[in-house]
Symmetry: C2
Subunit: 298 residues, 2 copies
């Protein structure tokens, strides 16, 4: 069976571990019965070992209860950059292996329920752990928004990014993020109401800047270049400019110039929200790309 899941940007500033947005880069996973385990991988992440430790193999084997599987992964999503690659692979692999509840499998095997929730449902979501399992809340999203991703070439391991966060925070900072989360939801639902302060955060972006000192300057450059707001994508290092679709090209140009000025090697992707989420079956192929503007398998 075949399944496709989108990339995603979690946190988006104030919504730490809660908010996530599906983006139109995709992972496709195919799982077929075989005599013994094989994993092949094209596109992003193709340089990772294709053994039984590959995330898609672990997930598909866990769902199937055995490893007599031929698994093929094709990905457009940069790995370890804060774009939800592992959540998308886990979700698509779980679905392609026939899981009844691929979201729970992905959240358990990969650990990023926020990314998995967005990849599952598409669009903008908030994720909560309730007694009966994960609750994915769909939230209003203005489809006229575009997302410019600055993707540094150097990865940032999520575990290291998380270890930078303090266990205790001032109550005032928690309240600050609650306010900004509501402000962000207002703006993501209607881009005319999106203001730069909406991505304000006091819970994680500050400590993470110790691992990526150029980030504040790059975020400021995205806003100066026309983004309505800017934030880290997940635990980084990808940074996101949120803009009107008509400004996407200008913001991307400003982002390219800012990366060069800062001496940060990387690429700039002009993305849109994905609104389909997980797709299972024959339709679950990677979209054909016109003009080859994006990396990934043709």
């Amino acid at each position: 069976m075949r399944a496709r899941a989108p990339a995603s940007a979690a946190n988006l500033g104030p919504g730490l571990d809660v908010l996530a947005l599906a983006l139109d880069l995709y992972v496709e996973v195919e799982v077929e019965p075989a005599e013994c385990l094989s994993v092949t991988s094209d596109g992003e992440g193709a340089d990772l070992p294709t053994d039984a430790c590959h995330l898609a193999a672990r997930v598909a084997s866990a769902v199937s209860g055995h490893d007599r599987l031929a698994i093929h992964v094709r990905s457009e999503v940069p790995v370890a950059r804060g774009l939800g690659s592992s959540a998308a692979i886990a979700l698509a692999a779980a679905a392609a292996a026939g899981a009844d509840d691929p979201l729970s499998v992905a959240a358990r095997e990969d650990g990023h329920a926020d990314n998995a929730g967005a990849a599952f449902a598409g669009g903008l979501v908030a994720v909560n752990a309730l007694e009966r399992g994960w609750r994915v809340s769909p939230l209003p999203l203005d489809i006229g928004l575009a997302f410019v991703a600055l993707v540094p070439d150097r990865p940032l391991e999520t575990a290291r990014a998380r270890a930078a966060l303090p266990a205790e925070v001032p109550r005032a900072d928690a309240v600050f993020n609650l306010g900004r989360l509501a402000l962000l939801l207002e703006g993501l639902g209607d881009r005319r109401r999106l203001v730069p302060q909406a991505t304000g955060d006091r819970l994680h972006q500050g400590p993470r800047t110790l691992l990526f000192a150029e980030a504040p300057g790059l975020l400021a450059a995205l806003e100066a270049g026309g983004a309505l707001a800017a934030c880290w994508s997940g635990a980084g290092p990808t940074l996101l400019g949120i803009c009107d679709e008509r400004e996407s090209g200008a913001v991307a140009g400003a982002g390219r110039a800012a990366l060069a000025d800062a001496g940060v090697a990387g690429r700039v992707l002009e993305l849109r929200a994905d609104v389909e989420g997980l797709v299972v079956g024959e339709d679950a192929r990677l979209p054909a790309r016109r003009g080859g503007a994006r990396r990934g398998p043709a």
Copy 2:
């Protein structure tokens, strides 16, 4: 000049100091030129001293720049119960005294910007302090919701309720509230999606329970009686059952029984959201009440 402002319930569980909802109990304030200061007061709060220290007098004098004012206050909003009485009085007094920006005046003089924001705009709002002043974000609200308020006879001073809160909180608790805030906004925007966990909170209701030990049992009774969710209103002691309008009577009955069972003297009010917010001018009179079901001036 005359102005009217509604009561409000702040916090609503997860949205500490950020989220607030306007409710259909009202304060009316009239301010007229006079030879010297006089304050008269009808309805709720009429037992408070009507001298220059009265909140309406302080606010109207600050706006006018002098105290040669005759001020008349009529209120349906219980005082010091967590229903935004002081924010409504401050807002209406500022507007009746001719303030250009009554919201800023009320937030400054009274200190409760969340309540003042809801009283100003009506409906459900989130309030953020931005560089240029207060930003009130209107949020979707299902008009089929009703709000059953259990209002204990004993007041709970906001300052005391606030002093009960710790200055530092676990980051995991901040994240918990972020998730529940998004879940609550989903449910308040569409009551079919409102679940009891949506009012979950780890930032303030727990510590405040030390000041009102019966609260958890009363909240549980509201939910058992048909409320979709239940929470503290502001810093309490008022507790709120959020329900479908068709269940309001049943939930109110359960609330009355629970108060009696717990030995807590108090009253039960069946409320709806106010969607008008601040009204200034001749229309700013208290609504006529049919059947006298609520306390307050006729």
